[in-house]
């Protein structure tokens, strides 16, 4: 619909024209750059980050565990996971931790319709996380490395996060990854289990996404 038909002004040209007229600007007129981005990485010693992350996420109803080695993470998953089939994403860390070879775990799915069906009926979704943010108790999952549905459709989400990837917060993330969309079509911050307070401001968990989230922080 934006295409020109026989010299007609397109919506694009008309809107940009109106905007320029409103601002008194000419097409292609250069822009004085805005003030430098405001990014101030707080000083939180590495050993305090874990505690802060845990406090924040558990205040929201999440659960945080610490695993000295990858093999410990695998054992923790066995203890935490609810009964029933689980789906694991294709993140390399899950294979390294031996999680993909645990019983009743579906993994290695590369075909979307099959992945959807599996996620829709799984009791639990297991993923990696690209980063953590201690100040907010958040996980960062980037689509280039992680499935989007595995952390979304099953009622329980378990994620493995390397301690070395636990950042202080937003400012450190955007310093490290200035343009997240350059590398992936989706970058999601997950901060606690799905929730709503739309009915009388009463907190309900697991409205559309998972009602429980467990994060295993791996020191190795």
């Amino acid at each position: 619909m934006a295409e020109a038909e026989g010299g007609e002004v397109t919506a694009r040209e008309e809107i940009l024209g109106r905007v320029r007229a409103a601002l008194g600007r000419n097409p292609g007129q250069p822009v004085k750059p805005p003030a430098a981005p405001r990014l101030r990485i707080p000083e939180i010693p590495a050993d305090e980050r874990f505690g802060l992350f845990q406090t924040r996420l558990e205040a929201l109803g999440g659960k945080v565990y610490r695993a000295p080695a990858l093999a410990d993470a695998g054992r923790l998953v066995t203890q935490i996971r609810p009964p029933g089939p689980a789906v694991a994403s294709n993140a390399p860390i899950l294979r390294e931790a031996g999680i993909t070879s645990l019983p009743d775990i579906l993994t290695g799915l590369t075909e979307e319709s099959r992945l959807r069906d599996v996620c829709a009926s799984a009791a639990c979704g297991i993923t990696g996380a690209d980063y953590g943010m201690a100040q907010t108790g958040s996980l960062v999952t980037i689509a280039a490395n992680e499935s989007r549905l595995v952390s979304l459709l099953p009622p329980v989400h378990i994620a493995l996060l390397r301690l070395s990837r636990l950042l202080t917060g937003l400012d450190e993330f955007y310093t490290l990854v200035p343009k997240p969309a350059g590398g992936a079509c989706s970058t999601v911050f997950i901060t606690g289990p799905s929730r709503s307070a739309d009915i009388e401001m009463i907190l309900v968990r697991g409205v559309h996404g998972p009602k429980a989230i467990h994060v295993i922080v791996v020191e190795e």
């Binding site: 619909m1 905007v19 601002l23 907010t136 689509a143 280039a144 937003l170 911050f189 307070a197």
Partner: protein
């Protein structure tokens, strides 16, 4: 000033409805308190507001540049930008895509812009089912009502109301517990997510240097809408642009805190285009509809341009004594509360609902909580001036003109003025004085202060004589 009888009755009913008053008062009080708590814990809060306002100002002053940059980056990531002058064009595009792809049902995540253009109605007129998926919006859709609050669409309803809405709307049993009710919505909507051909979302921010949109939410419905269907269409206003992804570090610290008192919402998604090679899921097609629908007109008004800074956090609604009394359904357009009171007249023309900028005590609570520093009380005053100016120009109000001419003449004739004062004092004491004539509307809700038994002039004369 010039409110329709119908509107006045509606407002009176809302104010007299104790159930509604309780629901709205407690919901907004809760949101207010939560915001206050987290804002106090953030030492750099004021500095962030200043920074955010400056970024918005910069982006709006160079909007054409950033829109073109945004478009180029969306295209580079395999998406498409569609420009829409108004709701007809935005809806027309979605209908075309739905027809071409044979889509009969779309899922929607919360979007005020689609409310603004009545998108659901337009789609349904063409046989396409549009399902709201945010819990509050879904309740409102089943109740056939527009959202009551920008971020808490059904905050005026009790759980008993909601049980009834689900019983009627879904033809199924439903208890009074929010947990059960949310569970029911989850089951019904899960099917819809997996079946829908198109997911429609709004956008909280459009990031120019990334060609990406940012969406905040708590339930996961926006993630589902933008992940499960094969086609994702975001419908948004051109004013939502920010220059860089790194600027999100400023805006994200303000948005969730101001809206719900959270540090971040549960899900904060930055979406830049369709699924890429090697991705296992995500939409195959990605469209961003950039809609004007009056925004460029607001942009031209330098004095009130900052109205477009709004990031739709809803904090001004919770802070506003007027909103908390009259509620979200007594504002004439999609946007309610103080922000609605300043943008509605600018979009619709000041004479459409001339009372709107006057329905404020100018207490300033809205400006104090605004995370992007919109000076709402000042803009309300500017709009009051505009209303009066346009009225005078239309010379529709001769009565007022004559009244002031008469007053001026009276002031110049001291004896007549004194006489008029005495007559006025007698008149005001008559029991029906504010029940009839031009003072009737004013008198309905007010007690008239009684004039002193003796006028100032009379007292003055007495004192002089006594000396």
């Amino acid at each position: 000033m010039m409110m329709t009888r119908e509107r006045l009755v509606q407002i009176q009913n809302a104010v007299a409805d104790t159930k509604l008053q309780n629901a709205v008062y407690s919901a907004t009080a809760r949101l207010k308190e939560k915001r206050q708590e987290v804002v106090e814990e953030l030492p750099e809060y004021q500095e962030l507001r200043t920074h955010a306002a400056a970024l918005k100002k910069h982006a709006l002053e160079n909007l054409d540049h950033y829109l073109e940059q945004f478009e180029a980056n969306v295209i580079a990531h395999g998406g498409k930008v569609v420009w829409a002058r108004d709701g007809d064009e935005a809806a027309g595009f979605i209908l075309d895509i739905a027809r071409q792809r044979g889509v009969k049902m779309v899922v929607k995540s919360k979007s005020m812009v689609t409310e603004e253009i009545h998108l659901n109605q337009r789609l349904e007129e063409h046989g396409i089912e549009a399902v709201e998926t945010d819990l509050g919006e879904y309740i409102q859709q089943l109740a056939k009502e527009p959202p009551f609050h920008i971020i808490a669409p059904a905050c005026h309803k009790t759980r008993q109301d909601i049980a009834e809405i689900f019983r009627k709307g879904l033809n199924t049993e439903c208890g009074d517990e929010p947990e059960q009710q949310a569970g029911l919505a989850r089951r019904v909507l899960r099917e819809k997510f997996l079946e829908a051909g198109i997911g429609i979302s709004g956008a909280n921010f459009l990031v120019a240097d990334s060609g990406a949109l940012l969406i905040v939410e708590n339930e996961g419905n926006a993630r589902l809408c933008t992940t499960a269907p094969k086609i994702h269409i975001a419908v948004t206003g051109i004013e939502k642009i920010i220059p860089r992804a790194q600027d999100l570090a400023v805006f994200l610290k303000l948005l969730a805190r101001s809206a719900t008192g959270q540090l971040l919402t549960v899900y904060t998604s930055l979406l830049g285009g369709p699924r890429r090679p090697g991705d296992v899921d995500g939409p195959e097609e990605f469209y961003v509809v950039l809609m004007d629908n009056g925004r460029s007109r607001l942009l031209a008004d330098k004095e009130k341009r900052e109205s477009l800074n709004c990031i739709r956090c809803g904090a001004c609604l919770n802070a506003c004594p007027v909103y908390r009394k009259i509620g979200g359904h007594n504002y004439p357009w999609t946007y309610s509360g103080p922000i609605g009171a300043i943008i509605t007249p600018q979009y619709k023309g000041v004479l459409q609902d001339p009372w709107l900028p006057f329905a404020s005590s100018l207490c300033g609570a809205c400006a104090e909580v605004c995370p992007v520093k919109i000076d709402i009380p000042k803009i309300l005053l500017d709009l009051r001036r505009d209303v009066v100016a346009e009225r005078t120009q239309a010379s529709s109000n001769r009565l007022e003109k004559w009244a002031f001419q008469g007053y001026s003449w009276l002031m110049r004739h001291p004896r007549l003025y004194a006489l008029a004062g005495r007559l006025g004092a007698i008149g005001a004491k008559l029991p029906f004085a504010t029940r009839i004539g031009p003072a009737a509307k004013w008198g309905q809700v007010r007690e008239v202060p009684m004039p002193a038994s003796e006028s100032f002039r009379a007292q003055w004369r007495k004192r002089k004589a006594a000396k």
